[in-house]
């Protein structure tokens, strides 16, 4: 694989890497026919991000040397990020960036051609890996919001930087509401301030969602995409479904597209018409409903249940295809039920498992189902599913 990026696009690539670094620790680089894809997933498999740069983004793009298979690799996010660490420097001095990956070389070579003839070469070691693909299909999500990223970025400004989770919902008068999410506190003494921003529907390019729907996701992970989208002046689309189902954020333009898939908290509200609502674990007393649905304690394993289903391809089928299976989601409850009773106590005591943090032992939430395995059978009693590591499969 060999590609050459020039001019302002180097900074765009750098910004994309910065956004991805907010999510995961490993970057999956995969040159495809339709472009170069950069993907990552967080350690608890509750957030997945992917950027695809079309061949037009590059001055030169060669996915694979003729006669060779498409290669793919996995590198440490930290290493790749260090190349683009200072975006200001990248913008000022880098003229060209050349990324090459070849079977013979054991390193991913990133070369920055800078002003005054300075050439910086980074040799990053990588691991062979399976293709990282999340199973998701924005088209299947019934609800959609679309707005210039700027609108959402401004709304998010009122939240403190330390806030982990935020709830997005539709309130009265078709206003879009973003609210800081708080865990139920036992006593009132340590309650934190609740901030809510309400945006009129006129600011949205598209708004297809009923009043009362609300989903909660990790704000920190979302900020990564938001800052990228804002700097690129793009519109952000938010595809979502009932609480528990992942929320999909997409941005696109002629040269690139990005998808961020974040898990959402499963609501314990009995009035939620969630498919999998008959859950055994309902340990938390219900709050009374009000216009913006209250979000009660979540059960960590339930989040895992709705974790983005990951699939690995055995072959070199590099398609970023989104198979129309949402089956993995539905089948999970059976998997989850096994987990639930034992974890009931746990999750009360546990501080919230913020997507992105290593999950507590009981809630091993990885699931990488191979597409060859029958979708309906969860991988046995053990909830721990390791991703196919190098050389396997």
């Amino acid at each position: 694989m060999k590609c050459l990026i020039t001019g302002g696009n180097v900074k765009v690539l750098g910004k994309a890497v910065h956004s991805l670094s907010r999510i995961g620790d490993e970057l999956y680089l995969e040159p495809l026919k339709d472009g170069l894809s950069l993907r990552t997933v967080n350690s608890s498999r509750s957030a997945y991000a992917c950027f695809l740069f079309a061949p037009l983004f590059f001055q030169q793009y060669q996915a694979a040397s003729p006669g060779q298979d498409l290669l793919r690799c996995k590198i440490l996010m930290k290493s790749f990020l260090s190349v683009f660490r200072s975006l200001a420097m990248v913008e000022k001095s880098v003229e060209k960036c050349c990324i090459s990956l070849s079977g013979s070389n054991s390193h991913l070579v990133v070369q920055l051609h800078c002003k005054y003839g300075v050439k910086k070469t980074h040799n990053l070691s990588f691991q062979d890996c399976e293709s990282l693909q999340a199973v998701f299909n924005p088209a299947l999500c019934p609800h959609l919001l679309r707005a210039p990223a700027r609108v959402l970025a401004e709304a998010v400004l009122s939240f403190p930087l330390a806030l982990t989770e935020v709830t997005l919902g539709i309130g009265h008068g078709q206003r879009v509401i973003l609210r800081s999410y708080q865990e139920e506190e036992a006593d009132n003494a340590n309650k934190a301030m609740v901030t809510e921003t309400s945006i009129g529907e006129e600011d949205f390019q598209q708004l297809q969602a009923p009043e009362g729907i609300a989903v909660t996701f990790c704000l920190k992970e979302f900020r990564g995409l938001l800052s990228f989208a804002e700097s690129a002046n793009l519109s952000l689309s938010v595809h979502f479904d009932v609480p528990g189902r992942p929320v999909i954020f997409t941005i696109e333009d002629s040269l690139l597209d990005g998808h961020f898939v974040l898990a959402t908290l499963l609501e314990q509200d009995p009035c939620s018409q969630d498919l999998c609502s008959p859950k055994p674990c309902q340990p938390v007393p219900q709050k009374e409903a009000h216009s913006t649905p209250p979000l009660d304690d979540f059960t960590n394993d339930d989040i895992d249940c709705y974790m983005i289903a990951m699939e690995t391809t055995v072959g070199s089928e590099g398609s970023r295809a989104q198979p129309s299976t949402s089956l993995p989601h539905v089948s999970q409850p059976s998997h989850d039920l096994a987990l639930a009773p034992s974890s009931e106590e746990e999750e009360e005591a546990e501080p919230s498992t913020v997507p992105g943090t290593p999950p507590p032992k009981k809630f091993r939430s990885l699931f990488f189902g191979s597409i060859l395995a029958p979708v309906h059978s969860p991988q046995g009693p053990s909830p721990v599913l390791a991703e196919d590591s190098d050389g396997e499969g």
Partner: protein, 295 residues
């Protein structure tokens, strides 16, 4: 108990924000006292023995375009609330270019002060509304007596302070040398800041500061204008006061008292523009404070 207020003027909003920022820098929790005419921010220094260490008063009609309150009862038409000062300043921070700001007392799952900001952003056609629910604790009536306005007792010497910024830079340098600061002043407009250690003694002299004319001159009548009255205070307390000053006051008056024991110093700040007054009582730690009682 009810409270609703609205600010529409940007200058008033800025002033209120600055006062709130100052409070947030000084203490983690503060008491807000709401009465028909005034709004007070009160900080009680729990380390000192009783009494108020900072008292800030705002005339509500200078800030709010609408103000309605109903106290605990008809005879006690006041509300005392305790809240985390940073929450209020953070909420007000989002209101920098607001069209309107509303504050009201609500009970959404828990008692809170809801600050609702209406923003008109240039980027959007409609207005954006940001709401902050600040959790509060209502202070019961039996504790109100500890939160009363300190009376300004008769002083031996009263003097106008120099520019607070200048004073701050001087005091900041002195802090590195010693914790014990001696302030001397007389009725001739002279003020000295003195620190003394075994190795060095540093004094900064301010002259021609002017003395306010106080109604009760009885105590100071016998005093020779050149006589210096001194008080000993903890320099860190003074710095805390100086660092928090963001609101530019018209006058900062330092009133001093010298008694046989204890000696303490009271700083009084008044801004005539917004009818806002602050009282600070500074005491050297270890001295038993004189409890300030309502006169």
């Amino acid at each position: 108990m009810k409270f609703r207020a609205k600010i529409v003027d940007l200058a008033c909003l800025n002033h209120f924000t600055r006062v709130s920022n100052m409070i947030a820098k000084l203490a983690k929790t503060c008491t807000l006292r709401i009465s028909p005419e005034k709004l007070n921010f009160i900080l009680s220094d729990k380390l000192a023995s009783g009494g108020v260490s900072m008292w800030c008063e705002l005339e509500q009609e200078n800030i709010f375009s609408e103000f309605q309150m109903e106290g605990v009862s008809a005879e006690n038409n006041e509300i005392y609330l305790e809240l985390t000062s940073e929450n209020l300043s953070r909420a007000l921070k989002t209101a920098q270019n607001a069209r309107a700001l509303k504050i009201k007392l609500t009970n959404k799952h828990f008692p809170c002060l809801t600050v609702s900001v209406e923003l008109q952003l240039s980027s959007s056609s409609s207005s954006r509304i940001v709401t902050h629910d600040i959790p509060i604790k209502v202070i019961p009536r039996r504790l109100w007596k500890d939160l009363q306005e300190p009376s300004v007792p008769d002083s031996d010497v009263s003097i106008y302070l120099p520019a607070l910024k200048t004073m701050k830079s001087v005091v900041e340098k002195m802090k590195n040398i010693s914790n014990h600061l001696v302030i001397e002043a007389n009725l001739n407009g002279d003020l000295n800041l003195k620190i003394e250690t075994e190795l060095v003694c540093v004094t900064t002299h301010f002259k021609d500061l002017g003395n306010p004319v106080l109604p009760s001159e009885s105590v100071s009548q016998n005093r020779h204008p050149e006589d210096m009255v001194e008080v000993h205070i903890d320099i860190r307390k003074l710095l805390q006061f100086l660092a928090g000053q963001q609101v530019t006051p018209t006058k900062a008056v330092c009133s001093k008292f010298a008694f046989s024991l204890p000696t303490s110093s009271l700083i009084c700040i008044q801004s005539s523009k917004f009818k806002y007054a602050q009282f600070w009582e500074l005491r050297l730690p270890g001295q038993s404070g004189r409890k300030v009682s309502l006169s």
